[in-house]
């Protein structure tokens, strides 16, 4: 991004900070200064800590699930416990890890930096979002301690509202609360992008990361309230007996599915769009080429956000919605794949004739592209009405969404964390270990989830704790892969913190462009810039002959 400093424009803030070696991390260090901070960069760290905690809990549940599935008999845990395990896993991973993952950590840190702003539009609201997130997390942990919940992450009625005798109310409250955190973050980001862009930073000069965060925010703002009301209705039915979904009263349990998926299909795009943003930053940097088809990628992000709202019924093909509705939703589901495909083509085309540097972050980004493509294509299988009758509620679906959400989003999250780690900390981590971790993750992931496609096609239903012997080989492979995958995730948890102490001090180790690299100190000062940057050209001005430092 070409920028020039502009003395006259913009308010000047704290020019002495850099001279004194001050930055947002060391500027004050008390616990209080962290817990009451309104600095978007510090809030990003607060989220990073809480999200890592929940990722750990969710992974623990997953590990138990995979352990149970090593043998065909249900011997490690009984069926009730098993139901609670996959419910806990789903609820935590979706709402307490994936939905907030990239937006609240990297997004919070980078959004103002990338648009040349001093903070988000509503800094105190930003902090409040984190407290709300924490409160929601406490409810969910309480639900777990109170014996857990066994409805699955989908809370389907009438089971959740009338029959389950587990801690449904507590768990639903947790998700209800955390929803507001996501709404407020989305609202904050949208206003920030609209109102706080630096002079000269027009929409088509924004990095793709900003476009995708904007699209994500749009979904958070418009979809989450519908989830809130549907959870509220479940609570109402359980606590006050006001049965909105009760078939005996003429209620329609499918209504819940409609409302739930009106949120949750768009929400799967909350869980992939920011990953697409991260990858769109990493690939041009390490291919040393401008992003191919920038405008198409930018607009595809908004296209995904919009079309994502028109397809929710593809989760209900076999549930009893009308055949006509099924056909409409099937058609739209094919359309929604188009903007995703555009992006994949453009990432690939960016590599062409690029000068490719296989750094750690780049390996994560390339894994993302491959795994996301496989996940997206199998989504098209599922969107085919007739085929879904066979594949619905099998391991094929499990594999589909794990390829996108774990292979895609979680991989992008780790890649992005390492790409911007030097910016956030001023330290370089061990690149060799990053390369090892990325490769371990890629192999471990495929070993875990590819067998699940095969299991699904062979007819293994999801959410069962025992299975016929014929499926054992594939299940064992999957469990073995999970161990490798866990290693892939644990490695960064060691070498990243280690870098804080032993890492070499760096400024811009990748030779990356973008306001966050070129116009701000490493680590940035409290209000980001010594003076408001002025942008004069498009992003991704990478050149083939320039080496990363």
């Amino acid at each position: 991004m070409s920028t020039t400093a502009s003395p006259p424009l913009g308010r000047r803030l704290d020019t002495r900070a850099a001279a004194a070696g001050r930055n947002y991390l060391n500027e004050s260090t008390s616990l209080r200064s962290w817990l009451l901070t309104t600095d978007h960069k510090r809030i990003a760290w607060l989220y990073l800590a809480s999200i890592t905690f929940f990722f750990f809990i969710g992974s623990l549940a997953a590990l138990l699930i995979r352990l149970e599935l090593i043998t065909p008999a249900g011997d490690l845990v009984d069926s009730d416990t098993y139901n609670k395990l996959f419910s806990l896993h789903g609820i935590i991973m979706v709402w307490f890890f994936l939905v907030p993952s990239i937006p609240t950590t990297l997004g919070n840190f980078l959004l103002p930096l990338m648009i040349g702003a001093r903070d988000v539009a509503f800094p105190r609201l930003n902090l409040l979002s984190w407290y709300i997130y924490t409160l929601g997390g406490l409810f969910t942990l309480t639900a777990t301690l109170a014996g857990g919940v066994d409805t699955g992450w989908t809370f389907y009625t009438p089971y959740s509202s009338m029959f389950s005798n587990t801690a449904v109310v507590m768990a639903a409250t947790g998700v209800f609360v955390v929803g507001f955190s996501s709404i407020l973050t989305g609202l904050n980001f949208m206003v920030t992008v609209h109102k706080l862009r630096a002079p000269g930073l027009t929409w088509f000069r924004l990095p793709i990361m900003v476009w995708t965060l904007y699209a994500t925010s749009l979904i958070m703002v418009l979809a989450t309230p519908v989830l809130s009301i549907s959870l509220l209705l479940i609570v109402l039915e359980r606590v006050f007996g006001i049965g909105i979904f009760d078939p005996a009263l003429g209620g329609d349990p499918l209504l819940f599915q409609h409302l739930f998926w009106f949120y949750s299909h768009p929400a799967v795009y909350i869980m992939i769009l920011p990953g697409m943003g991260v990858v769109s930053e990493i690939i041009p940097c390490f291919a040393r080429r401008p992003l191919f088809g920038y405008r198409a990628v930018a607009l595809a992000s908004l296209g995904i956000a919009l079309f994502g709202f028109l397809v929710w019924g593809h989760h209900m093909f076999v549930s009893g919605q009308s055949l006509y509705a099924g056909a409409v939703f099937s058609l739209f589901s094919f359309l929604v794949a188009v903007p995703s495909a555009i992006k994949v083509f453009n990432w690939t085309a960016t590599l062409y004739q690029g000068r490719i540097h296989l750094t750690g972050p780049m390996l994560y980004a390339l894994s993302f592209v491959g795994l996301f493509t496989l996940g997206g294509l199998t989504g098209l299988f599922l969107a085919t009405l007739a085929l879904d009758v066979h594949l619905h509620d099998t391991y094929f679906v499990t594999a589909h969404f794990h390829y996108i959400m774990v292979g895609g989003m979680v991989t992008a999250y780790f890649g992005g964390l390492q790409f911007w780690w030097p910016k956030m900390t001023g330290r370089m981590y061990s690149e060799i270990w990053a390369v090892i971790a990325a490769i371990t993750l890629f192999i471990g992931f495929n070993l875990t989830f590819f067998p699940q496609y095969l299991l699904g096609i062979a007819g293994m239903p999801r959410r069962y704790h025992s299975y016929p012997e014929a499926f054992q080989l594939l299940h064992v492979a999957s469990s073995a892969g999970a161990v490798l995958l866990a290693v892939g995730y644990l490695l960064p948890a060691i070498y990243l913190p280690a870098s804080l102490r032993w890492g070499r001090r760096v400024d811009n180790p990748w030779g990356a462009l973008g306001l966050e690299w070129t116009a701000a100190d490493t680590p940035p000062i409290k209000h980001n810039f010594h003076q408001t940057p002025v942008v004069t050209g498009p992003p991704y001005g990478y050149r083939n002959d320039a080496e990363p430092a």
Partner: protein, 99 residues
């Protein structure tokens, strides 16, 4: 006159007059819906009722909530909710009307 608004509101007396006129219009519309309740309109009942509700909403939003003085961006934000409700209702009815 200190107005934080982006555009200058109408002059004082005209603004008061306008708000009151809109108020009377709203109450008149209320009387019409109420009256229509006692007239057998058949399938048109919901059309009339919700049509009037939408008109009332527009009046409140444009004049009482001052959308007419806001920027296009803010107006778009105001329209966003309505548009998304339309998506929700339409696709939901695609199922319920064809069961």
């Amino acid at each position: 006159m200190t107005s934080p608004g982006t555009t200058t509101p109408l002059r004082h007396d005209r603004q008061l007059w306008l708000l009151s006129a809109i108020f009377l219009l709203l109450q008149a519309l209320l009387l019409i819906t109420w009256g229509a309740h006692y007239v057998p309109l058949g399938a048109f009942t919901p059309v009339v009722n919700f049509g009037i509700a939408i008109i009332k909403t527009l009046l409140v939003a444009i004049f009482f909530m001052q959308l007419r003085a806001e920027s296009g961006l803010v107006r778009a934000a105001a329209g966003l909710g309505g548009l998304w409700l339309l998506i929700l209702f339409t696709l939901l009815l695609a199922d319920y009307l064809t069961r």
